[in-house]
């Protein structure tokens, strides 16, 4: 536990990402199993011990420290675990710290009653740093500036394996990850994932930007505006994962009994709708409702029958990683595509279709096709190298995303709010509006969106100054400005929304240009924005 506590302290005080990686990697190399596995779990996803809550710690301390002194101290420190670690009465015997493994075992054995006897015994065996590490470990979130991804990257760095491979096994294993260490540290066979419905990290694309590709090497597909998902079937169980690897099976139950054989499929989850009227034979392939309709279904733990009937989900398939237990990822895209096409007859067309390849004579022709597409279910184009294997993560040169040019509208800055973190001293979150009629005839501004990106640090400073010098009202962290500045706002699409007074909501709005020069009465009207709605 001393080494783990020292690691936690070092991480608390380290700002550099590389240094954090180095510290964690060094710990993982130097520490035996299962301690390092538990530590890795604590640093990444956190451990859960139901018997230990923040209130447990408070109650323990109230028996040992005067309640007034406790609360004065807690207020000063601002963190319950840290306050408790500092105030815990030093035992009269020297510390005899348990290992991390023993600590976890003891914590797991505690229940809501025994915790009041057992946790003190554990605290008595540690010094203040050890007590801090113990209490952080026991209550879940470490909150020391280490993300799950950073912890996994450190693991990969420690044993010189690829982080994508780590991600792949991660989802099928549980702490303390004995098989993972056996593979990475001791050179044993990788963990067997064949019979587990686990998430495989996605292959991702780079933005195309200025690159021009040769269409004899690349194919184009539409980039659909739904959510990227992975449907996995193994060992008679089907699971649906989001791009980050979250299990979202419960949200889309209709997809769990339609894949009749073991496979890992990559596609876009969409819900059916009628507004586009596109037929399956169209260039753009239709039948998908807008992202708005999909939004209605996201984030729900249970789904009503009505919802299942009104907005049924289906998967538009992009790729196949495994079919019938065979790993296809090393094959070139063309071969995987053939296998995927052949697979379609084995899948119910109520729940699956195939993302079509977009045919174009050459790159310029493709650019024209892209410009012509204003179908709301399309975000742009994907360009995939024909010989590309399926590789986790983002590799240069294999896949590109070529988003549609954004839509632009001129808006007026109305409110500004302080940012968070590094930006907490700046007014960096902006709410802007459009005119509800002719501004020269007394029209008013209605808020249409919010943005906090798209400007440089230099511009942020100028914007911050503008806000401070032109404030007409304050509401907590928010300032209302005198509405004297025009933003050219870029966004991907705009939708009807009941939540906003203007009745409209933008997707991905960002500041495209700050028009210091433009008079506010020349900003756009709400009706101009409404004309861009494609719902």
């Amino acid at each position: 536990m001393e080494e783990f506590a020292a690691l936690i302290d070092a991480l608390v005080y380290t700002r550099s990402r590389n240094e954090k990686l180095r510290l964690i990697a060094e710990y993982l190399r130097a520490t035996p199993d299962p301690d390092r596995g538990w530590a890795l779990a604590a640093l990444s996803d956190g451990l859960d011990f139901p018997a230990v809550k923040s209130s447990t710690i408070r109650n323990l301390l109230k028996d040992r420290v005067d309640p007034v002194l406790w609360s004065l101290s807690r207020d000063f420190v601002g963190d319950t675990a840290e306050t408790a670690s500092l105030l815990w009465p030093a035992p009269d015997h020297p510390p005899s710290p348990p290992s991390v493994g023993e600590t976890v075992e003891l914590l797991e054995a505690m229940n809501r009653k025994s915790v009041f006897v057992e946790l003190p015994k554990l605290l008595d065996r540690l010094d203040p740093s050890g007590r801090y590490a113990l209490l952080k470990l026991a209550t879940g979130g470490m909150r020391i500036g280490v993300s799950s991804r950073l912890a996994k990257t450190a693991f990969a760095q420690a044993f010189d394996v690829s982080v994508e491979e780590v991600e792949e096994y991660w989802h099928g294993l549980a702490p303390p990850f004995a098989e993972l260490f056996a593979w990475a540290a001791d050179g044993q066979a990788p963990p067997d994932m064949a019979n587990l419905p686990t998430f495989r990290p996605f292959m991702l694309a780079h933005p195309l930007e200025e690159t021009v590709v040769d269409l004899s090497d690349y194919v184009a597909e539409w980039k659909w505006d739904g959510i990227r998902v992975q449907l996995v079937r193994a060992g008679d169980e089907t699971k649906l994962f989001s791009r980050s690897g979250d299990d979202i099976s419960a949200t889309f139950p209709e997809l769990l009994d339609v894949l009749p054989f073991p496979a890992v499929l990559d596609g876009e989850l969409l819900v059916r709708g009628s507004h586009q009227g596109g037929e399956a034979n169209d260039v753009t392939q239709g039948g998908a409702a807008s992202f708005n309709a999909l939004q209605q279904r996201l984030g729900r733990k249970t789904v009503s029958k009505k919802m299942l009937a009104e907005a049924p989900a289906f998967v538009r398939l992009y790729d196949a990683l495994l079919i019938d237990g065979e790993d296809l990822r090393a094959l070139p895209w063309t071969e995987r595509r053939q296998r995927l096409e052949a697979l379609m007859s084995r899948l119910p067309d109520t729940h699956f279709d195939l993302s079509r390849v977009v045919e174009a004579r050459d790159f310029d022709h493709l650019a024209q096709i892209r410009e012509g597409s204003r179908d709301d279910a399309i975000e742009g184009l994907m360009l995939k190298r024909k010989d590309s294997p399926y590789i986790a993560g983002r590799r240069v040169g294999y896949w590109y995303k070529w988003k549609r040019d954004p839509l632009l509208v001129d808006c007026v800055l109305m409110y500004a709010q302080r940012g968070s973190g590094k930006r907490s001293s700046f007014y960096s979150d902006y709410t802007f509006g459009c005119w509800d009629g002719d501004p020269d005839k007394g029209a008013e501004l209605l808020p249409v969106g919010k943005a906090y990106s798209g400007f440089t640090d230099e511009e942020l400073k100028k914007l911050d100054r503008h806000v401070r010098q032109n404030t007409v009202n304050r509401f907590g962290p928010v300032r209302e400005t005198d509405k004297s500045l025009v933003f050219e706002v870029a966004f991907d699409s705009v939708h009807e929304s009941k939540r906003h007074k203007s009745g409209l909501a933008m997707r991905f709005p960002r500041i495209h240009r700050i028009r210091w020069d433009k008079p506010v009465h020349e900003a756009d009207r709400v009706e101009a924005l409404r004309a861009l709605v494609r719902d």
Partner: protein
């Protein structure tokens, strides 16, 4: 017969010794000031007469040029030196005796006696050994007026040797870098240097320009600080593998860019709390304080065992609570203008 202790009155800007018309550590100009030590929250310029130890007077002269005139520039200032253990008579039949407080060079507790009653003003103090000043002495009294800068039970200052070992270990592990220690210019900086020497570190130590004069003053008063160099006279390469000392304000300042990839350290009692260290972007917190920690504060009250304890500045709520819990009479004085310049 007047009521007991009616001759002493705490006011927000200092403690008034009524019969002598003298003030202890006043935060506004007065005719006669009894000053415990040279930190800015206790020692100010502009008094008619300042009674303090010779070291404190020298520090005040250096910092506020008190020696000749007050701030307005007309009333001649009079410095009255008092050695440790020396008693001076004040008007109104008041006697003042200065005892070591162990806080910084020249720091004193002031024992005031009148009508058979004894009152001690500690100013700031600590109970740990400090190579730059003589140790705190227990002075029996009726009213004990104590500070409470670190008056919360979570403050336990570790042995300074442990903190020095942390610093030197980090230095040894990064021979291409330097360790930049933020430390207050009066007291903390010299103590850190002297403790480094005591820990066997005899390499040159580099100073921010703002520290130089005070270090020289310490040396003139017999505190050996070893070889000191100014950062401004040296190149990055000269300073690799060295300790550099600067005021806390310079830690994240542009000034530090001239240093070889500094590891940012800070010597302060507040470093006990992680969030405090993070706020200052400190990578190497060194819990080193010139104030009494919670254990020292409460032990001192028990050892002095006064009839009443008055608490001047710091976290007085918690110390007051402790006194109540231990059936000790106590009150918190609402003092203004005492900040933690010297934590």
């Amino acid at each position: 017969m007047p009521a007991p202790f009616s001759w002493i009155r705490p006011e927000p800007w200092g403690i008034h010794v009524v019969p002598a018309d003298a003030w202890v550590d006043p935060s506004r100009p007065v005719e006669r000031a009894l000053v415990t030590h040279g930190h800015a929250d206790h020692a100010r310029g502009g008094h008619g007469q300042t009674v303090a130890t010779p070291e404190t007077l020298a520090i005040m002269e250096l910092r506020y040029r008190t020696g000749t005139q007050d701030e307005a520039g007309d009333i001649p200032h009079k410095a009255v030196p008092v050695e440790y253990g020396e008693t001076i008579k004040l008007p109104g039949d008041v006697q003042a005796t200065y005892f070591p407080a162990g806080h910084v060079l020249g720091s004193a507790q002031i024992l005031l006696e009148h009508a058979g009653e004894r009152i001690v003003c500690t100013g700031d103090y600590k109970r740990r050994a400090d190579p730059t000043c003589p140790p705190f002495q227990i002075v029996p009294c009726d009213i004990f007026i104590t500070e409470a800068t670190f008056g919360l039970p979570l403050f336990t200052h570790p042995p300074i040797a442990e903190e020095m070992a942390k610093l030197l270990d980090r230095l040894a592990a990064h021979p291409d870098r330097c360790v930049l220690v933020g430390a207050y210019a009066l007291g903390k900086a010299q103590r850190v240097i002297a403790e480094l020497r005591a820990a066997g570190h005899h390499d040159p130590i580099y100073l921010h320009g703002a520290m130089e004069k005070m270090c020289r003053l310490y040396e003139e008063h017999g505190v050996d600080l070893g070889e000191l160099r100014l950062v401004s006279d040296h190149t990055k390469d000269d300073m690799r593998g060295s300790v550099v000392i600067s005021p806390p304000g310079a830690l994240n300042d542009r000034w530090s860019r001239r240093l070889p990839d500094p590891i940012t350290a800070m010597a302060s009692g507040w470093m006990r709390v992680r969030q405090r260290a993070r706020q200052r972007n400190v990578e190497l917190p060194l819990v080193i304080s010139d104030h009494a920690d919670w254990g020292e504060l409460t032990r001192t009250i028990e050892e002095v065992d006064p009839v009443e304890t008055w608490i001047t500045h710091g976290r007085e709520d918690a110390l007051l609570r402790w006194c109540q819990l231990h059936q000790r009479r106590a009150r918190a004085l609402a003092m203004v203008g005492y900040e933690d310049e010297d934590d």
